[in-house]
């Protein structure tokens, strides 16, 4: 189980996350929604150890990892597929996969990759950064599937993927779920992720504004209140209606 308590974090002189509490129970899938710039990426990066937490705690199965560096958290079972650049762009596809595995059996892994994304196995010797945007994203997604981390966080997995491939990605998410992993998912296609999620969190301007089940969002009003928020909405305007 992944638990975030009282978390504050940000960049140099900007606090982005204010007192965030979040729980991903074992084997459950949590969708994290929010407008652009709400702090979703930041939250995931803090949990993975890429951005330091200013205050608060992060627990994996009750054990605090907040002071551990990213690589220890990764070894401890947190896998983040980051936004935008989840691959080593200057290495070949084969070397990327070898890095993801950190020394484990490459042959078997390549076979599995071939089953998910046959396109990638045709490109093993291509430098990953020269592949098309979607092909790069496929490679990034591979990592979540290849490593057996109990906690998987995905930041906008389906960005830039053709609709057919998005279907496959969501099949992959289902697969991870079926394997009993705990998932924390940030997604552009909110309706699709809500179909697989057990719980939903809405992050608004760096604070959790809603926690509940997908069904509660069905009428769309909450959706609009929080996901409509954009940079030019003055701070006072949102101080009004809360849940």
């Amino acid at each position: 189980m992944l638990e975030v308590r009282n978390l504050h974090a940000g960049y140099q002189n900007l606090e982005v996350l204010h007192r965030v509490d979040l729980k991903v129970p074992s084997g459950r899938t949590v969708a994290l929604l929010g407008a652009n710039g709400a702090g979703k990426t930041t939250l995931l990066n803090v949990i993975a150890g890429l951005v330091p937490a200013a205050a608060g705690d992060i627990l994996v199965d009750g054990r605090s990892v907040v002071s551990e560096p990213a690589h220890l958290r990764a070894r401890g079972g947190i896998c983040l597929v980051p936004e935008g650049r989840g691959i080593f762009r200057h290495l070949t596809v084969r070397k990327n996969i070898a890095m993801f595995l950190s020394g484990r059996n490459l042959g078997a892994a390549l076979e599995r990759v071939g089953r998910w994304f046959p396109r990638l196995t045709e490109r093993l010797e291509q430098v990953a950064g020269t592949m098309s945007g979607g092909e790069q994203q496929m490679l990034a997604v591979c990592r979540a599937l290849l490593v057996d981390a109990p906690i998987v966080m995905a930041d906008e997995l389906s960005v830039g993927l053709a609709p057919v491939v998005v279907d496959e990605i969501f099949d992959a998410v289902e697969m991870l779920r079926a394997e009993g992993r705990s998932l924390l998912i940030v997604e552009q296609y909110a309706d699709r992720v809500l179909r697989v999620a057990d719980y939903v969190y809405i992050l608004h301007k760096g604070a959790i504004e809603f926690v509940g089940e997908p069904a509660q969002l069905a009428d769309g009003s909450l959706f609009h209140r929080y996901l409509g928020g954009s940079a030019d909405v003055p701070q006072s305007e949102t101080a009004g209606g809360r849940r």
Binding site: H8, G10, Y11, N13, L14, E15, H18, R19, D21, L22, K23, P25, A48, G49, L50, P69, A70, H71, A74, R75, C79, L80, P82, R85, G86, I87, F88, R89, H90, L91, K95, A98, M99, F100, S102, G103, R143, V147, Y199, K205, A207, I208, E209, V211, G212, Q235, A239, R242, R243
Partner: protein, 635 residues
């Protein structure tokens, strides 16, 4: 054919020396993202340690070599990585170059402080007996060095191709954050890279010491000659780097045969490595040279200066400059004038390094050409101010000569091209009568109304202030904005109808112009300039001082001038001067890792930061007050 054989053999054994050095450069670059100018210095230091162990302590040769290469050098590597490079983030060419230049100066300074400056001879490591091939005597030691170089090449390529650790070292340079996410300790890998690179440097140092003698400068600069070979491999391909090394070695050896009969070309053989460096860089097709490392990581930290014209700073500076002479004894006036002129020199370099993030390692050449052209024009009777401007303009084509072909090169590779040009200019052009005249000294007169030191000081201040106004004006114009944008994304610039090449050439030429003008002023100040005034190493020192002081603002240029000129003139105690290079090198290393060097620390944090911070705190506390529902409720 027979007559070529001896040269061929010499060429191959020199090539092996270059190959070892080039491989070392490639290894450190591909695994740490730093093109290590100090690679030779690390080797040199290890060679001294080896010498101490072998001669002073009396340990058997083999063991001493093993200790130096396998224990001491890796320890130096750990020290470099863990202590000196603690806050290093890749991505900016100038900061990574300066970090390694600082290391070079520090190591060399330490060696001189401990062992003294004179060359010591080192007993050979290997049997010096010879055998005969086709009528030519070949030393066994030569053969052994070649064998070691080949074995090292093989070992390294296996390491990178076949081992997981080799793979990790490549991954870390490309994307540190992601390396962490896949569960690899990026810090440990980087430390290992430095250990490996240092051991490699030590191997070369220990091997070469018997051939060239134990000399802190010679051993340090030996590696410089391998830059060309390393660049042939794009700084990352070991096979090509090796091929290049033997090619350069053989070419240099053969050229000695040919130029023996042409005295005016006697500088050529030793220039061949640099010719190769320069030509390979400027003549290769676009896209051949790409840098390792992710620039995104460092973009946020990088300081690119403000876009406001610093009226107040310039006014304060002018006022201060006008008051200074009345506070100083006349004897100090020369130092003050030199400082003032160097402000312009550094500001011109800052225009390149700080604003457009292009690194020039040949600024001294511009200065020298400025001074010598001024001298020539004066002897032709051109009035001073006109001559000074013309001297500046005369150097513009030289700037363009480097900028135009090199313009397709990014960061580090542009820097290396300018470096190659700087060395070539010194070794090939400075010797020719056209530059310094037949007796190697160019006399530069002062303008007639400003003959005495005090008057000339004011004259220099006036010229420098005009120069600074031009530079600061460029920063705030469209050109300035384009230059700041360019380092982030040249393709995006093209898509908004800006031709980035024109802007880059323009700023390079402007910088060269101003550097030449400063050079002319310097010449007038000391009334002459000779071959030894500004060697290619000066350019490196200038860059180092500027980046350490802060390259992206006027304040940085002023501070740099004070550090370079005034500092040494004030601190003259012998114990200090002995360790001064060490302090300088270490200081530069540390400061080059800061977003805007030393001036960055001197400025109080802007008020806006506090405001932003308190706004966020406020928002946070407001939020806490109306507290979000507890989690447990919902789950």
């Amino acid at each position: 054919m027979k007559s070529f054989l001896p040269f061929l053999i010499i060429g191959v054994s020199t090539g092996a020396v270059y190959a070892l050095a080039a491989m070392g450069l490639v290894v450190t670059y591909t695994t740490s993202g730093i093109f290590n100018f100090a690679h030779g210095a690390v080797g040199m230091f290890a060679a001294y340690i080896f010498y101490t162990l072998r001669v002073d302590v009396g340990i058997p040769t083999g063991l001493a070599a093993a200790v130096a290469i396998l224990l001491v050098a890796p320890a130096i590597g750990v020290l470099i990585d863990r202590v000196l490079l603690q806050r290093f983030v890749g991505g900016s060419a100038s900061s990574s170059i300066v970090v390694s230049l600082g290391l070079l100066v520090a190591l060399q300074g330490t060696a001189v402080a401990i062992y003294g400056g004179e060359t010591r001879s080192v007993a050979p490591l290997f049997p010096t007996s010879t055998f005969e091939v086709g009528g030519v005597r070949v030393g066994y030691d030569q053969v052994i060095v070649v064998a070691i170089a080949l074995a090292a090449a093989l070992g390294l390529s296996l390491f990178f191709r076949r081992t997981q650790l080799g793979l990790k070292t490549q991954a870390v340079v490309g994307d540190r954050a992601l390396t962490g996410l896949v569960g690899v300790d990026a810090r440990a890998v980087t430390t290992f890279s430095w250990m490996l690179g240092s051991a490699f440097a030590a191997l070369s140092g220990v091997l070469f010491a018997p051939f060239v003698g134990l000399d802190s400068i010679l051993l340090t600069l030996l590696v410089v000659q391998a830059f060309g070979a390393a660049v042939i491999g794009g700084l990352r391909n070991l096979t090509l780097a090796n091929a290049g090394a033997y090619g350069v070695g053989i070419a240099a050896a053969l050229s000695t045969k040919w130029v023996a009969t042409v005295p005016s070309l006697r500088g050529l053989p030793s220039s061949i490595p640099f010719l190769v460096l320069f030509l390979v860089l400027v003549a290769s097709p676009k896209g051949r040279f790409t840098e390792v490392g992710d620039s995104a990581g460092s973009a946020a930290r990088r300081s690119v200066g403000t876009n406001r014209f610093p009226w107040r700073a310039l006014a304060v500076l002018t006022a201060a400059a006008l008051v200074v002479p009345s506070l100083l004894s006349p004897a100090k006036l020369l130092t003050a004038s030199a400082t003032v002129v160097f402000v312009l020199m550094f500001a011109s370099l800052g225009l390149l390094v700080g604003l457009s993030r292009q690194v020039s390692l040949c600024h001294a050449v511009f200065a020298v050409f400025g001074a010598t052209t001024l001298s020539h024009l004066q002897s032709a009777g051109v009035p001073y101010v006109l001559a000074l401007v013309l001297a500046g303009l005369a150097v513009v084509p030289v700037g363009a000569l480097i900028a135009i072909p090199a313009i397709r090169l990014s960061g580090l590779f542009l820097a290396l091209a300018t470096f190659g040009f700087g060395v070539l200019a010194e070794s090939l052009l400075f010797n020719s009568a056209a530059v310094f005249g037949s007796d190697g000294v160019a006399f530069v007169a002062r303008p007639s109304p400003f003959q005495n030191d005090r008057a000339f000081y004011y004259f220099a201040v006036a010229v420098v202030i005009v120069g600074l106004i031009v530079i600061e004006a460029v920063r705030v114009t469209r050109l300035g904005r384009i230059l700041r944008a360019m380092a982030d994304s040249p393709v995006a610039l093209q898509s908004i109808r800006v031709n980035p090449i024109a802007s880059r050439v323009m700023v390079f030429c402007l910088s060269a112009f101003l550097a030449a003008v400063s050079g002319g002023l310097l010449g007038s100040l000391i009334r002459s300039m000779n071959l030894a005034s500004f060697g290619f190493f000066q350019s490196l020192i200038w860059l180092t001082v500027l980046v350490a002081a802060g390259a992206s603002s006027l304040g940085g240029a002023v501070l740099a001038a004070v550090l370079l000129v005034t500092g040494p003139a004030v601190f003259t105690s012998p114990s200090f001067t002995e360790w001064q290079p060490v302090a300088f090198g270490l200081g530069a290393m540390v400061l080059a890792q800061a977003p805007n060097g030393l001036v960055g620390y001197l400025k109080p944090p802007p008020l806006a930061d506090f405001a932003a911070r308190s706004r966020w705190r406020l928002a946070a506390s407001r939020h806490r007050a109306r507290l979000a529902p507890r989690l447990e409720e919902a789950l």
